[in-house]
Assembly symmetry: C2
Homo-oligomer: 251 residues x 2
DNA sequence: TCACATTTGTCCGTATGTATC
DNA sequence: AGATACATACGGACAAATGTG
């Protein structure tokens, strides 16, 4: 029963590969290595640390799955410092949702509540840059709709941009994760929807997508004009409609 | 430029080790493999998948860092299915803190908003079983406090039980993740606090812990008596006080 | 207490696939 | 198209750790 978790020096605990990844992590935390910098190749790292290549590979795998680096194959490739922690956290939330077998009802209820909460924060922290990004998003979405194309990616991004405008990264992660789950569900229910230039999507799906864009435009207007209650009401209507759309797809 | 993302069979895209980990992941999602089950040894897996042992190792490393398995060395050891996604998320949150992607302020604001939202749902969906679990929790916490021991685990669990009482798994995961981050932070800031029977904890930390228990008791009473506004007010006071406690620990 | 078997951890050598120049 | 550089993958070997008899 002595489950003493030694939190002070988590290094040295498991093996060399963890120590190597911790060392590189520390360099990133201390600012010695910044996003965009290149790490030496595996062979080079193996020589510098005086360890085997497999050990380096597992250390790099840790860093990759922790969102600190990406690895590119081929010539002039190799490990690249890149900050993707937020995305990594979102991925794990997605896994957690899938493990718990979340129902559509639960997800839509939670989404509705959380996004309303986020919107409240947006109204208090909105900047011109946020407005610009949101306007750009709905413009791009409208353009696609007018070209008879789905605008699903843009529509999902609208909600992510809204979360960003709340100036709270926790909200960004949570909203982004829920959006990822929904996108996952939609792509399973109506295949080919997310792909660009899908020639088979000339059905009511485009109408729904266009409808969402109109809602986004109205919500954005209400936000800009500081009409808080109207924005909340529109958001609620929009999300309820989306949930209905998903339900009809399931049947 | 042919970046066609095939959402139906994302396998074969990156490499063999990702395909292996995806296969095992799928088995876990589908319930074929459940927490507590043992995976074959690395050599056995290598034979069954007809791949090298190094490939298996990297696949297992992915699963470990994604919170799906743990790996034990030695005789009768090996890969063990275990759901630790929430802990993994909290670890990444800590990394995000260190990378200054998330601040304590953001986290406490998000926690306050989310738990208030959850409490509202709890008031509408409370059952006798939830009440029983919550009462048992505060009773256990009080017992520890009266024995001059910290009740941090119980106090954190109180909030998780609250989330469960909302009957929404999304809330459970979000609240659980935030709680895990806070527990992780607290254990780093005030070492030895989480361990049972810590003889060095006879300081103001126990007072704070006891204070939290009192708040929990009052909140629970308000919930049972359907005093919604009072419960919300108490919860808000409680969480603000906790955030102050964390801030003072950081300075 | 002491081997013993099992399993992960680590290293080496080599070959292949892949992206860049 | 060819050369180069790099990750990816295979097989074999030994060391270290851990539970079991």
């Amino acid at each position: 029963m002595k489950t003493q978790e030694n939190l002070f020096s988590p290094i040295k605990s498991k093996g060399i590969f963890e120590e190597v990844s911790s060392n590189i992590k520390r360099l990133i935390f201390d600012g010695v290595l910044k996003p965009g910098d290149r790490l030496p190749s595996e062979i080079e790292l193996a020589n510098q640390f005086s360890v085997g290549r497999q050990t380096i590979r597992e250390a790099l795998r840790i860093l990759e799955l922790s969102g600190f680096i990406t690895v590119q194959k081929g010539g002039s490739g190799g490990p690249l410092i890149k900050d993707t922690i937020i995305n990594t956290i979102s991925d794990l939330f997605l896994d957690a949702f899938r493990m718990e077998k979340i129902s559509i009802e639960e997800l839509t209820i939670a989404r509705l509540e959380i996004e309303k909460m986020v919107l409240n924060h947006v109204m208090d922290n909105l900047t011109d840059l946020d407005i610009e990004a949101l306007e750009q998003n709905v413009a791009a979405a409208r353009e696609k709709i007018e070209g008879n194309m789905m605008a699903n990616e843009e529509n999902i991004e609208f909600h992510n941009l809204l979360a960003k405008a709340s100036k709270n990264h926790v909200f960004v992660i949570v909203v982004g994760s829920i959006a990822a789950v929904l996108r996952n569900l939609l792509s399973r229910l109506s295949p080919g929807v997310g792909t660009a230039g899908d020639p088979g999507g000339y059905d009511k799906s485009i109408l729904m997508s266009g409808n969402a864009v109109r809602y986004h435009e109205e919500i954005l207007s209400a936000i800009i004009e500081k009409r808080r209650d109207a924005a909340m009401e529109l958001l609620e209507q929009h999300l309820i409609e989306v949930s209905h759309r998903i339900k009809t797809l399931i049947d």
